[in-house]
Subunit: 274 residues, 2 copies
């Protein structure tokens, strides 16, 4: 059963390139869906900005995506997902909204054996308490230990996922989590799936890593099936990538995150404040 | 500490395109490594062939890759990995060999909470008992329930990862595993990561899916770090894709599995028997 709605694209956004790991996971499991991805590179990173600013930016972008007639919104940005933007957007639009936070938390709750999970994220995400709130909503009897890993994004963005320097940073961030005895770790930043090798190595092979990107993609899949909103076309979907700055580095980084098809991206400058 | 050996490429093979999911996971976590991937498309599928034939093919290909001076071999082919080829290759070459089977089994043993895991694979892989043997070697007190899913490969290869027909097939294959109460499922075929959406949907969100591709990539990472064999260059690695048939469909499918960079593949016909 496919509705007219099924033909419309999925909308997704992040402050920059990180959310492309989510895009790739969605494209993998739903290759026939059209996708519009917006990377707010002109105003990236969101980390140092205030709650209200990030909320406003997120609502700006969701306005833009809803105007493109998307059937579902994916907030592939942990910073935006830790604001009140999603709650406000649910009031504002008649479109289901999936954030990267809840699917990762639920997958971790399902995966833990000893009820001790770890969360890795940026300082902003960890400090926001959004993952703690999401864990609280599951009512699971699970303890979560969080670690901000401020330098991880920088390593990924310069293409370093395997140096001795990275390994040292990983030990600094992760050893305290190991000491807490967590058996499951949420990669709570969309950049981190590219560090799965070093993180698994340092944590040890008994620890289960939860990729928010994959957990979110399976949630998108489930939602489209349940709501009868799958696109039933036979051909592959069209993927549009839009960025708010014209910097070439966005294309280069995008390629690392998503693959070469990212080369073709549209530049849409903000007419609003940056 | 990086040895001369670190500069050499990683060698990887499969009977066809499926192993490209492993290649992509390796490229993700080890972007600076050179990689040579061989897809034996002229003799694919290996499923209907005898043990000795598949063993011989695997050794042919490993000879070819070792002649390319690879520093590590990845057997990204469940059929080949379920023969005696790996044991024989370990005698024959002075190069570490990682197969897709053991990393997936160890990750599943680590992830299960109720000590009941499921295995999905082709008829050949499930019938070979290779996963049962690998589980036996872990000495873990875990029960494994296997299901052959013969039609899954065909769905993936025609680009169908979300139809009603696929959902029905998934229920047929997976409902009996659900009835067994497994809490962890190994995707024991390199095609299956592209079906993670439908498999997670049918199994339910409490079940942990283990991608052999990702588990193998983290094992490759760990091995290179431990042996001091990482490539310490600053630039991205070079990825060569070789196939034994010149069919264009290989390129098209390859793109779905790995991304557009796959378009450029070399054709190397066998001078030996097919």
């Amino acid at each position: 059963m496919v509705t007219e709605r099924g033909r419309r694209p999925i909308g997704m956004f992040d402050s920059g390139v990180g959310g492309l790991t989510v895009a790739r996971s969605v494209i993998d499991v739903l290759p026939h869906e059209d996708l519009i991805y917006f990377g707010d590179t002109a105003r990236c990173p969101y980390g140092p900005r205030s709650h209200d600013e990030v909320r406003d930016f997120a609502l700006d972008i969701m306005d833009l995506l809803v105007a493109e007639d998307v059937k579902l919104l994916v907030v592939a940005c942990n910073s935006a997902a830790s604001t009140t933007a999603i709650a406000e957007a649910r009031e504002r639009y008649d479109v289901p909204i999936i954030s990267v936070i809840e699917p990762g938390v639920r997958a971790a709750v399902a995966a833990t054996r000893n009820r001790r999970i770890g969360l890795l994220g940026t300082e902003r995400t960890v400090g926001s308490g959004a993952y703690d709130d999401a864990l609280g909503h599951t009512k699971a009897n699970v303890e979560m230990f969080s670690r901000a890993c401020p330098r991880f994004v920088e390593f990924v963005e310069r293409g370093d996922t395997a140096s001795a320097e990275l390994l040292e940073a990983a030990h600094e961030y992760l050893d305290p989590l190991k000491d807490r005895g967590v058996d499951t770790v949420i990669l709570g930043c969309t950049h981190y799936p590219l560090l799965a090798g070093v993180i698994q190595f340092v944590m040890g092979e008994d620890v289960v890593l939860i990729s928010s990107a994959e957990a979110t993609a399976t949630e998108v899949y489930a939602r489209l099936v349940t709501d009868g909103m799958l696109n039933d076309r036979e051909t592959l979907g069209v993927h549009r990538f839009i960025s708010s700055s014209a910097e070439a580095t966005f294309g280069e980084l995008g390629e690392r995150f998503l693959g070469p098809e990212f080369k073709a991206f549209e530049h849409r400058p903000w007419s609003v404040r940056t």
